[in-house]
Symmetry: C2
DNA sequence: TATTGTTATACTCTATAACTATA
DNA sequence: TATAGTTATAGAGTATAACAATA
């Protein structure tokens, strides 16, 4: 037994990965009560923010392959949270929209997200939380992360 | 278009999940050059810190099922980084040890981890980095995370 | 010919369950 | 009877490739 640091990592990078996985996992548990997975949540948000988008454009923004969007949308359509509407201008497109039930789920999701945030940051004061958010935001900006897009969606087999 | 926050999350929790996934992904890219995956790295570290451990005890600490440890160790043994030695006291056990090559890889891993950390926190000053690490550490403690263990290893189908 | 969405398929990761050998 | 490790199997998630309809 050396005094400490036996196994190695305790710098910011490892803590970030560790806490990030923990946060994602806790969030997944919470939204599971709504019958949703984290990818479902991301997709609902994306559709809500820009209704009528095509699957292709979503696939591009998310960095995933179009066939994956098919599966995700199939899933949400089966739950009647999302609908594919025919596009007037290009009949190849499906315009994606939230249903009324979808809007409601989105609202419940927002309160879940707030509770999640509070629970996760329970160790910190309000000041410290915004201090943390600001430090994290600067890292995110410098690392070129796309706002609101979780990298977990990305296709890692085509990393460039 | 509302003024901002169209898609929703930009609090500390989402940033944490986003940056955590990003950090994990970048780290995975780096260790891939050593022919290793992140779980491999965690296992190597764990064996290095307590040589001679059994697979069962590692499975318990990592929160995974023993058969998964079999696969991970198989992989590292095939690369001749780890060896299973028979235990003198209980012939059911395999005592896990690093080979010389394993020790060397571990050293290279440490310098990779340092470079990773520097790169990830490039946006912050030295002071800010330790400020960040301290905030993160307090959250990790309060959330009950086990030091040095990435939650990604855990068996999520048995969450309690 | 190029593009959108779909289907069919395969691959990777990981857990479950049954099994062997020790204890 | 219980435990350490193993094998065989199955499931979830996701990519690839071939395809139909439309542009």
């Amino acid at each position: 037994m050396t005094s400490r640091r036996q196994a190695g990592p305790s710098g910011a990078a490892f803590l970030l990965a560790q806490l990030g996985a923990h946060a994602a996992e806790r969030f997944a548990q919470r939204v599971k009560e709504l019958g949703l997975t984290p990818p479902d949540v991301g997709l609902l948000r994306m559709i809500a923010s820009q209704p009528g988008r095509s699957q292709r454009s979503i696939a591009t923004d998310l960095g995933v392959v179009p066939s994956r969007v098919v599966a995700l949308v199939d899933n949400l359509e089966r739950k009647e949270l999302v609908e594919r509407r025919p596009s007037a201008t290009d009949r190849r497109h499906h315009a994606l929209h939230l249903t009324t039930a979808g809007e409601q789920v989105l609202m419940r999701m927002r309160s879940i997200a707030t509770a999640h945030e509070d629970d996760l940051c329970a160790a910190l004061s309000t000041d410290e939380r915004s201090q943390l958010a600001s430090l994290l935001q600067r890292i995110a900006d410098q690392q070129g992360l796309v706002p609101h897009v979780h990298p977990g969606y990305r296709n890692l087999s085509t990393p460039r």
